[in-house]
Symmetry: C2
Subunit: 232 residues, 2 copies
C-alpha cells in the first residue's frame, strides 16, 4: 500500500508536475482513501522522500552501536555511507526525485531539513566521542558538516550520471578527502612503498622524513607528506 | 519605516508568540498599511531576519572583489566573519531572535535555507578558485561547509552567552581550526622559535624536519608539525 502510494504519486508528479498534483489525485490513482495516505505520510512532501525516516533511524542505531574501538571519523563516514546506499538501491527512483527536487523550491527546503537531521545525528555522536577534549563540540560540528558535504558532493555527481557511475567508489573518494583532513585511522595493512621514493625501506615500522621551509603554509607541508606516504 | 516594522513585529512576537501574531497586528502597531509591510518583507518570516539579504549581497560583493593574491581559505573565512559582524552589531536583537527561532520550527527551516545560501556563496567562490585542480568542486564544497559549521558553532556559543562573550575572538578560534585542517596562509611574520625545539635557527628561511613512523595516522603527523611550528 505504501509502495503503491509512492508509485502513484511519482507517476502524477512526472505527468502533471508536483504543484499540480493533489493528495486526492494520488489516492484516486492508487485506489485508496485519504486516511490511508496520511497514515503513511504526514504531508505531500513526505511521499517524495519515503525512506529518509527509516534511514535516519538506521543511522542513529548504527552510531549507537559504536564502541571505543571505533575511530570516530571513519565511523561517521561509514554512517554517511548508509544514506548513499539508500539512494543507490533504487537508481531510477533516485534520479527522478533529484530532477523533481531541483524544480520545486518547497522540496529543496524539505531536503535541507532532512540533510540537517543527518548532520545533527553525526555531530551528536562525535560530540559524545570528543567530550572533554579541547574544542570537542567545534571539532564535532565541523567534521559532521564536512562529512555531509563530501557525501552530498559524491551523491550529486552520481545522480548527474543518471545513476550510472559507481556510487560507492565516488563516495569513498570524497570521504577519503575528509578523513585525510581530519584524521585517518592507522592503515590496516602495511603501506606500500611509493615508487617515486626509493629511499624508504618497506617494512611498516619505517620512518618518513619531511623537510620543509618553516614559512611554508601547513597545507603544502601536508600535501608533501601525503605524496611521500603515497596516499594521494 | 522598515525599522519600525521590525520593532513592532518583535514586540508582538515576544508578547504573544510568533504564531499568534499576524501581519495585520504588526502593521496596526506600526501604524502603516499592509502594502507597506509587503514592500519590505515578502512574508512574516522575512521580518524575523531583516538583514540577511543585505549581508548575502555584501558577502557576494566581498568575494567578487577578491583577486589571485587572496589565499582562498582565509578569504572565505573573512567572508564568514561578515555574518558574525551583522549579528554582533545588535546583540540584544540577535539574542531575542535566537530564542524565538529555537521555539518556532518554521523559523528554523527558514534559517536553514539562509545558511544554505551563505554556504553556496562560499562554495561558488572556492569552486572558481579551485577550477581545474583535482577534486576542485569536492574541496570547495567541503571547505565551505566546514567554514559555515565553524562560524555557526562560534555564533551559537556567543548567542548562548547572551551576546556577552567576545564574538570575534570566538569566531577567530573556530575558523582557525578550519584553516589548520584545510590550509593556512603563510604566516605574516617570522614564526617564533618554539621553546621545546632548540635545534632550529630563528630566521624565516629555516627548515623544519619532521620524522614520523610511516604507519602513523596523518592527523598525528600534522599535530606534530603544528607543535614544531608553534602554531597550536
Amino acid at each position: 500500500m505504501r509502495d503503491a502510494l509512492v508509485a502513484a504519486a511519482f507517476r502524477l508528479f512526472l505527468e502533471r508536475g508536483y504543484e499540480q498534483t493533489t493528495v486526492d489525485d494520488i489516492v484516486a490513482l492508487a485506489g485508496v482513501g485519504r486516511r490511508s495516505f496520511f497514515r503513511y505520510f504526514p504531508s505531500k512532501e513526505d511521499v517524495v522522500f519515503p525512506d529518509h525516516e527509516r534511514c535516519l533511524a538506521d543511522m542513529t542505531a548504527f552510531l549507537a552501536a559504536s564502541d571505543e574501538g571505533h575511530e570516530p571519523v571513519p565511523r561517521v563516514c561509514d554512517a554517511a555511507r548508509l544514506v548513499l546506499r539508500m539512494y543507490a538501491e533504487n537508481p531510477s527512483f533516485s534520479v527522478q526525485r533529484y530532477r523533481l527536487t531541483k524544480q520545486v523550491p518547497g522540496l529543496r527546503a524539505y531536503e535541507l531539513s532532512v540533510v540537517w537531521r543527518y548532520e545533527r545525528a553525526l555531530a551528536e555522536y562525535l560530540r559524545g566521542r570528543f567530550a572533554g577534549r579541547p574544542d570537542g563540540t567545534l571539532r564535532a560540528d565541523v567534521i559532521a558538516a564536512a562529512v555531509v558535504a563530501a557525501h552530498n558532493n559524491a551523491l550529486r555527481s552520481w545522480l548527474r550520471s543518471d545513476g550510472k557511475s559507481d556510487a560507492s567508489t565516488t563516495v569513498d573518494h570524497a570521504l577519503g578527502y575528509v578523513q585525510s583532513a581530519f584524521g585517518a585511522a592507522p592503515p590496516a595493512a602495511p603501506v606500500q612503498e611509493h615508487p617515486g621514493h626509493p629511499g624508504h625501506p618497506e617494512h611498516p615500522e619505517d620512518v618518513v622524513v619531511v623537510v620543509s621551509r618553516r614559512g611554508a603554509p601547513l597545507w603544502r607541508v601536508v600535501q608533501e607528506i601525503e605524496t611521500t606516504l603515497g596516499r594521494e
